[in-house]
Protein backbone atom coordinates (compact mmCIF):
# COMPACT_ATOMS: atom_id res chain seq x y z
CA UNK A 1 0.00 0.00 0.00
CA UNK A 2 2.86 2.36 0.81
CA UNK A 3 4.59 1.61 -2.50
CA UNK A 4 1.28 2.23 -4.31
CA UNK A 5 1.09 5.64 -2.67
CA UNK A 6 4.58 6.63 -3.80
CA UNK A 7 4.13 5.35 -7.37
CA UNK A 8 0.78 7.16 -7.69
CA UNK A 9 2.38 10.34 -6.29
CA UNK A 10 5.15 10.15 -8.88
CA UNK A 11 2.60 9.64 -11.66
CA UNK A 12 0.55 12.59 -10.38
CA UNK A 13 3.54 14.93 -10.26
CA UNK A 14 4.89 13.85 -13.68
CA UNK A 15 1.53 14.17 -15.42
CA UNK A 16 0.93 17.58 -13.81
CA UNK A 17 4.32 18.72 -15.12
CA UNK A 18 3.24 17.49 -18.56
CA UNK A 19 -0.04 19.46 -18.19
CA UNK A 20 1.71 22.74 -17.50
CA UNK A 21 4.24 22.33 -20.33
CA UNK A 22 1.91 21.30 -23.19
CA UNK A 23 1.10 23.70 -26.01
CA UNK A 24 -1.94 21.81 -27.27
CA UNK A 25 -4.96 22.22 -25.02
CA UNK A 26 -6.40 18.75 -25.65
CA UNK A 27 -3.07 17.06 -24.88
CA UNK A 28 -2.88 19.01 -21.63
CA UNK A 29 -6.40 17.89 -20.72
CA UNK A 30 -5.56 14.23 -21.37
CA UNK A 31 -2.57 14.50 -19.03
CA UNK A 32 -4.83 16.24 -16.52
CA UNK A 33 -7.14 13.21 -16.55
CA UNK A 34 -4.12 11.00 -15.75
CA UNK A 35 -3.17 13.37 -12.94
CA UNK A 36 -6.65 13.25 -11.42
CA UNK A 37 -6.76 9.45 -11.66
CA UNK A 38 -3.38 9.24 -9.91
CA UNK A 39 -4.66 11.53 -7.15
CA UNK A 40 -7.70 9.25 -6.86
CA UNK A 41 -5.34 6.31 -6.27
CA UNK A 42 -3.59 8.39 -3.61
CA UNK A 43 -6.97 8.99 -1.92
CA UNK A 44 -7.63 5.25 -2.00
CA UNK A 45 -4.30 4.45 -0.35
CA UNK A 46 -4.98 7.11 2.27
CA UNK A 47 -8.16 5.31 3.29
CA UNK A 48 -10.77 7.48 1.57
CA UNK A 49 -12.28 5.20 -1.12
CA UNK A 50 -15.49 7.21 -1.45
CA UNK A 51 -13.51 10.37 -2.16
CA UNK A 52 -11.47 8.45 -4.75
CA UNK A 53 -14.71 7.56 -6.52
CA UNK A 54 -15.89 11.19 -6.32
CA UNK A 55 -12.56 12.38 -7.71
CA UNK A 56 -12.90 10.10 -10.73
CA UNK A 57 -16.57 10.93 -11.32
CA UNK A 58 -16.58 14.68 -10.74
CA UNK A 59 -13.05 15.83 -11.62
CA UNK A 60 -11.92 13.32 -14.27
CA UNK A 61 -15.46 12.91 -15.55
CA UNK A 62 -17.61 16.01 -15.32
CA UNK A 63 -15.18 18.91 -15.14
CA UNK A 64 -12.84 17.65 -17.89
CA UNK A 65 -15.79 16.91 -20.18
CA UNK A 66 -17.12 20.43 -19.56
CA UNK A 67 -13.76 21.96 -20.53
CA UNK A 68 -13.56 19.72 -23.63
CA UNK A 69 -17.02 20.88 -24.75
CA UNK A 70 -15.97 24.50 -24.46
CA UNK A 71 -12.76 23.79 -26.42
CA UNK A 72 -14.88 22.16 -29.12
CA UNK A 73 -17.05 25.28 -29.28
CA UNK A 74 -14.01 27.54 -29.70
CA UNK A 75 -12.72 25.81 -32.89
CA UNK A 76 -9.03 26.00 -32.01
CA UNK A 77 -6.60 25.32 -34.86
CA UNK A 78 -2.92 24.59 -35.31
CA UNK A 79 -2.27 28.35 -35.33
CA UNK A 80 -3.48 28.58 -31.76
CA UNK A 81 -1.01 25.87 -30.73
CA UNK A 82 1.77 27.82 -32.47
CA UNK A 83 0.69 31.03 -30.72
CA UNK A 84 0.72 29.23 -27.38
CA UNK A 85 4.28 28.15 -28.19
CA UNK A 86 5.23 31.76 -28.89
CA UNK A 87 3.64 32.92 -25.64
CA UNK A 88 5.49 30.38 -23.52
CA UNK A 89 9.02 31.74 -23.96
CA UNK A 90 11.66 30.72 -21.39
CA UNK A 91 12.35 34.38 -20.60
CA UNK A 92 8.74 34.64 -19.41
CA UNK A 93 8.50 31.56 -17.22
CA UNK A 94 11.98 31.31 -15.70
CA UNK A 95 11.48 34.16 -13.22
CA UNK A 96 8.18 33.06 -11.64
CA UNK A 97 9.23 29.41 -11.73
CA UNK A 98 12.52 30.06 -9.92
CA UNK A 99 10.95 32.26 -7.25
CA UNK A 100 8.13 29.73 -6.70
CA UNK A 101 10.75 26.97 -6.50
CA UNK A 102 12.40 28.88 -3.65
CA UNK A 103 9.04 29.02 -1.85
CA UNK A 104 8.51 25.29 -2.50
CA UNK A 105 11.95 24.51 -1.09
CA UNK A 106 11.02 26.43 2.06
CA UNK A 107 7.73 24.53 2.27
CA UNK A 108 9.54 21.20 1.87
CA UNK A 109 11.95 22.21 4.63
CA UNK A 110 9.14 23.23 6.99
CA UNK A 111 7.11 20.07 6.36
CA UNK A 112 10.13 17.79 6.73
CA UNK A 113 10.95 19.55 9.99
CA UNK A 114 7.58 18.39 11.34
CA UNK A 115 7.97 15.49 13.67
CA UNK A 116 4.74 13.59 13.22
CA UNK A 117 4.77 9.90 14.07
CA UNK A 118 3.78 7.68 11.18
CA UNK A 119 0.44 6.21 12.15
CA UNK A 120 -1.23 3.29 10.46
CA UNK A 121 -3.70 4.51 7.87
CA UNK A 122 -7.16 3.47 8.98
CA UNK A 123 -9.90 3.89 6.42
CA UNK A 124 -12.67 6.29 7.41
CA UNK A 125 -15.80 4.55 6.12
CA UNK A 126 -18.25 6.44 3.94
CA UNK A 127 -20.99 5.86 6.52
CA UNK A 128 -19.17 7.98 9.11
CA UNK A 129 -18.61 10.69 6.49
CA UNK A 130 -22.30 10.70 5.58
CA UNK A 131 -23.40 10.88 9.22
CA UNK A 132 -21.09 13.82 9.87
CA UNK A 133 -22.13 15.50 6.59
CA UNK A 134 -25.82 15.46 7.50
CA UNK A 135 -25.19 16.01 11.20
CA UNK A 136 -22.91 18.86 12.29
CA UNK A 137 -22.16 19.97 8.71
CA UNK A 138 -25.77 20.30 7.51
CA UNK A 139 -25.40 24.08 7.11
CA UNK A 140 -22.44 23.48 4.80
CA UNK A 141 -24.51 21.12 2.67
CA UNK A 142 -27.22 23.76 2.35
CA UNK A 143 -24.67 26.42 1.45
CA UNK A 144 -23.23 24.05 -1.19
CA UNK A 145 -26.70 23.66 -2.64
CA UNK A 146 -27.10 27.42 -2.84
CA UNK A 147 -23.64 27.73 -4.41
CA UNK A 148 -24.48 25.16 -7.09
CA UNK A 149 -27.77 26.92 -7.78
CA UNK A 150 -25.93 30.22 -8.16
CA UNK A 151 -23.43 28.47 -10.43
CA UNK A 152 -26.17 27.10 -12.69
CA UNK A 153 -28.00 30.42 -12.91
CA UNK A 154 -24.76 32.35 -13.41
CA UNK A 155 -23.51 30.00 -16.13
CA UNK A 156 -26.86 30.21 -17.93
CA UNK A 157 -26.96 33.98 -17.69
CA UNK A 158 -23.35 34.47 -18.80
CA UNK A 159 -23.32 31.79 -21.48
CA UNK A 160 -26.45 33.02 -23.22
CA UNK A 161 -25.83 34.49 -26.65
CA UNK A 162 -27.26 37.95 -26.79
CA UNK A 163 -29.31 38.29 -29.94
CA UNK A 164 -28.90 41.50 -31.86
CA UNK A 165 -32.39 42.96 -32.16
CA UNK A 166 -32.53 45.18 -35.22
CA UNK A 167 -35.77 46.73 -36.37
CA UNK A 168 -37.18 45.52 -39.67
CA UNK A 169 -37.01 49.03 -41.10
CA UNK A 170 -33.30 49.36 -40.28
CA UNK A 171 -32.58 45.94 -41.76
CA UNK A 172 -34.25 46.94 -45.02
CA UNK A 173 -32.36 50.21 -45.09
CA UNK A 174 -28.98 48.57 -44.50
CA UNK A 175 -29.81 46.03 -47.20
CA UNK A 176 -30.68 48.83 -49.61
CA UNK A 177 -27.40 50.67 -49.01
Amino acid sequence: MELTFYIASAVAILSTIMVITRYNLIHALLYLVVSFLAVAVVFFTLGAPFMAALEVIVYAGAIIVLIIFVIMMLNLTQEDVQREKDWLKPSLWVGPALLSAVLLAELVYIISALDVPATATIAVPAKVVGLALYGPYIIGVQLCGMLLMAGIVGAYHLGRQQKKVVHRFLQERSAAQ
Partner: protein, 102 residues
Protein backbone atom coordinates in the same frame (compact mmCIF):
# COMPACT_ATOMS: atom_id res chain seq x y z
CA UNK B 1 -1.04 -1.83 8.26
CA UNK B 2 0.83 0.61 6.10
CA UNK B 3 2.85 3.59 7.21
CA UNK B 4 2.29 6.47 4.82
CA UNK B 5 3.62 9.46 6.70
CA UNK B 6 1.71 12.71 6.86
CA UNK B 7 4.78 14.52 5.52
CA UNK B 8 4.69 12.58 2.26
CA UNK B 9 1.04 13.42 1.65
CA UNK B 10 1.51 17.08 2.50
CA UNK B 11 4.60 17.25 0.29
CA UNK B 12 2.63 15.81 -2.62
CA UNK B 13 -0.13 18.38 -2.06
CA UNK B 14 2.46 21.17 -1.83
CA UNK B 15 4.22 20.14 -5.05
CA UNK B 16 0.95 19.89 -6.98
CA UNK B 17 -0.17 23.29 -5.67
CA UNK B 18 3.18 24.78 -6.64
CA UNK B 19 2.94 23.38 -10.18
CA UNK B 20 -0.54 24.83 -10.59
CA UNK B 21 0.59 28.20 -9.22
CA UNK B 22 3.51 28.37 -11.68
CA UNK B 23 1.17 27.54 -14.55
CA UNK B 24 -1.29 30.27 -13.52
CA UNK B 25 1.54 32.79 -13.54
CA UNK B 26 3.27 31.86 -16.80
CA UNK B 27 0.29 31.17 -19.06
CA UNK B 28 -1.53 33.75 -21.13
CA UNK B 29 -4.23 31.42 -22.45
CA UNK B 30 -7.24 31.80 -20.18
CA UNK B 31 -8.34 28.14 -20.47
CA UNK B 32 -4.88 27.01 -19.34
CA UNK B 33 -5.21 29.33 -16.35
CA UNK B 34 -8.57 27.77 -15.48
CA UNK B 35 -7.05 24.26 -15.70
CA UNK B 36 -4.23 25.38 -13.40
CA UNK B 37 -6.72 26.69 -10.86
CA UNK B 38 -8.35 23.25 -10.94
CA UNK B 39 -4.95 21.65 -10.21
CA UNK B 40 -4.48 23.99 -7.24
CA UNK B 41 -7.97 23.27 -5.86
CA UNK B 42 -7.33 19.54 -6.21
CA UNK B 43 -4.06 19.90 -4.30
CA UNK B 44 -5.83 21.77 -1.50
CA UNK B 45 -8.41 18.97 -1.30
CA UNK B 46 -5.61 16.42 -1.16
CA UNK B 47 -4.13 18.22 1.84
CA UNK B 48 -7.51 18.00 3.62
CA UNK B 49 -7.78 14.26 2.86
CA UNK B 50 -4.24 13.68 4.18
CA UNK B 51 -5.03 15.51 7.40
CA UNK B 52 -8.35 13.71 7.78
CA UNK B 53 -6.74 10.30 7.32
CA UNK B 54 -4.00 11.19 9.79
CA UNK B 55 -6.44 11.91 12.60
CA UNK B 56 -8.97 9.29 11.40
CA UNK B 57 -11.74 11.89 11.33
CA UNK B 58 -14.40 12.37 8.63
CA UNK B 59 -13.97 16.18 8.61
CA UNK B 60 -11.20 16.15 6.01
CA UNK B 61 -13.32 14.21 3.54
CA UNK B 62 -16.27 16.54 4.14
CA UNK B 63 -14.06 19.52 3.36
CA UNK B 64 -13.02 17.74 0.16
CA UNK B 65 -16.68 17.35 -0.83
CA UNK B 66 -17.17 21.10 -0.28
CA UNK B 67 -14.06 21.89 -2.35
CA UNK B 68 -15.35 19.58 -5.09
CA UNK B 69 -18.70 21.39 -5.16
CA UNK B 70 -16.98 24.74 -5.27
CA UNK B 71 -14.69 23.61 -8.11
CA UNK B 72 -17.67 22.40 -10.15
CA UNK B 73 -19.54 25.70 -9.70
CA UNK B 74 -16.38 27.70 -10.39
CA UNK B 75 -15.53 25.86 -13.61
CA UNK B 76 -19.05 26.23 -15.01
CA UNK B 77 -19.16 29.99 -14.38
CA UNK B 78 -15.55 30.37 -15.54
CA UNK B 79 -16.19 28.56 -18.81
CA UNK B 80 -19.28 30.68 -19.47
CA UNK B 81 -17.13 33.79 -18.92
CA UNK B 82 -14.46 32.39 -21.27
CA UNK B 83 -17.08 31.87 -23.98
CA UNK B 84 -18.27 35.45 -23.56
CA UNK B 85 -14.70 36.78 -23.70
CA UNK B 86 -14.02 34.75 -26.82
CA UNK B 87 -17.14 36.07 -28.53
CA UNK B 88 -16.30 39.65 -27.62
CA UNK B 89 -12.56 39.67 -28.30
CA UNK B 90 -12.08 36.69 -30.70
CA UNK B 91 -9.02 35.60 -28.70
CA UNK B 92 -8.17 33.67 -25.53
CA UNK B 93 -5.32 36.03 -24.62
CA UNK B 94 -5.89 37.43 -21.13
CA UNK B 95 -3.88 40.54 -22.00
CA UNK B 96 -6.52 41.45 -24.57
CA UNK B 97 -9.10 41.72 -21.77
CA UNK B 98 -7.29 44.45 -19.84
CA UNK B 99 -9.73 47.23 -20.65
CA UNK B 100 -13.26 47.88 -19.52
CA UNK B 101 -15.91 48.72 -22.03
CA UNK B 102 -19.53 48.53 -21.08
Amino acid sequence: MNGITMEAGLLLAGILFFLGMISVMIRRNVIFMLISVEIMLNAAGLAFIVAGSHWVQPDGQIMFIFILTMAAAEVSVGLALILQIYHQLKTLDTDAANFMRG
